[in-house]
């Protein structure tokens, strides 16, 4: 049976947030985030100079799927993976670095960002981030016997008056 995994604990969240903030400031990024390979966002930080953030869940789902597709392409071509994943447009782009098999660090940059610095800095962040954000069996969440029932009632509530 698959068991749930806890990836980002309360006690390390602030530290992770500070690392992402520093990453944004030092490279002049618009946003930085950590997401897992299912497309769930664990931490998202935004620069004060950045425009309003796009829908974060959608962004993460597309980035993670695109990264997974690139990974599959690398394997088809006989490589283990592509070491660098970057998309660049006229005014924006994304740079992705693998933290571990389950997690990705994503930098979203603008035309004022130093890409060389972004690549260097992101590679330096992998070790500290992989220490702070990792899978855990810690089960300190209060899941009662009624938990499933209440969630199902909330599904019903979503469609209230529509059935």
């Amino acid at each position: 049976m698959m068991s749930p995994s806890i990836l980002l604990q309360d006690d390390s969240a602030e530290e992770v947030s500070d690392i992402l903030d520093d990453f944004i400031r030092s490279c002049h990024l618009n946003y930085a985030m950590i997401c897992d390979n299912q497309g769930f966002v664990l931490m998202f930080e935004s620069a004060i100079w950045a425009p309003e953030a796009p829908p974060i869940d959608s962004l993460a789902a597309l980035i993670v799927s695109n990264y997974a597709a690139n990974d599959a392409i690398a394997k088809l071509l006989g490589d283990e993976d592509f070491t660098e994943s970057m998309q660049k447009g006229a005014t924006s782009g994304t740079f992705i670095e693998k933290i571990n098999p389950r997690l990705l660090l994503v930098a979203i940059f603008s035309d004022t960002t130093s890409l060389g610095r972004t690549k260097m800095k992101s590679s330096q962040l992998i070790a500290p981030l992989s220490e702070l954000v990792k899978e855990s069996d810690r089960k300190d969440i209060d899941i009662t016997n009624e938990w499933g029932e209440i969630n199902t009632l909330m599904v019903d509530k979503l469609f209230e008056g529509k059935l």
């Binding site: 698959m2 969240a13 789902a61 597309l62 499933g148």
Partner: protein, 197 residues
């Protein structure tokens, strides 16, 4: 495999709509998008071809509310149904928590239903998951077709032992869209609670 984000107080689940091409997977997501309050859902993302066939996936994030200090969130995906997009289908299944198999009632699609169901099992096996290990239901869509196959015939092909909860639907009219979504969500939550308690 659900993701618990203790820092954001969130528990995230991934639900995938699987099935043969044009069986109505995207329609299910569109109907859910249409019927759920705007504050409980994010934008629906569709990666499709010029002919509006799903090329990679459709995506719809839903937020249920808070229980025990944690918000439950469901990310709904569809897979591309066309046979040659198998690599994309396999990628979407990664980290899956539950699946709704959308079958087509058309007499010409019986074989496609069977092949897609077998393909689901094969792709799950790539992740060392048996279908029986994850919450799943079947939705038999397009029941309004004048020549729709009898339910028994479709079930004989997909679930001869009648072990899987199966629902009839006309997804374009929202009929039978909520019920399989609710059923599989309930199974996902119960399974999570079973493991976490």
């Amino acid at each position: 495999m659900s993701t618990i984000n203790a820092a954001k107080r969130e528990i995230n689940f991934k639900l995938v709509y699987y099935g043969p091409g044009l069986s109505g997977k995207t329609t299910n997501l569109k109907q859910i998008f249409k019927h759920v309050p705007a504050e409980s859902r994010g934008d629906m993302v569709t990666v499709d071809t010029e002919e509006e066939r799903t090329l990679f996936f459709d995506f719809l994030p839903l937020e249920l509310g808070e229980v025990g200090g944690f918000k439950s969130r469901l990310h709904l995906y569809t897979v591309p149904g066309q046979v040659f997009y198998n690599a994309s289908r396999r990628l979407i299944l990664r980290g899956i928590d539950g699946v709704v198999f959308v079958a087509d009632s058309s007499p010409t699609r019986l074989r496609a239903n069977a092949e897609s169901f077998r393909n689901l099992r094969e792709n799950l096996a790539e992740y060392k998951i048996a279908l029986e290990d994850i919450p799943h239901v079947i939705q038999v869509n397009k029941r309004d077709l004048p020549d729709a196959l009898p339910m028994e015939m479709i079930q004989d092909v997909l679930d001869p032992e009648r072990k899987i909860d199966t629902f009839q639907a006309v997804a374009t009219d929202f009929q039978g869209v909520f019920e399989p979504f609710r059923a599989v969500s309930q199974k996902i939550f119960n399974k999570f609670a079973e493991v976490a308690v």
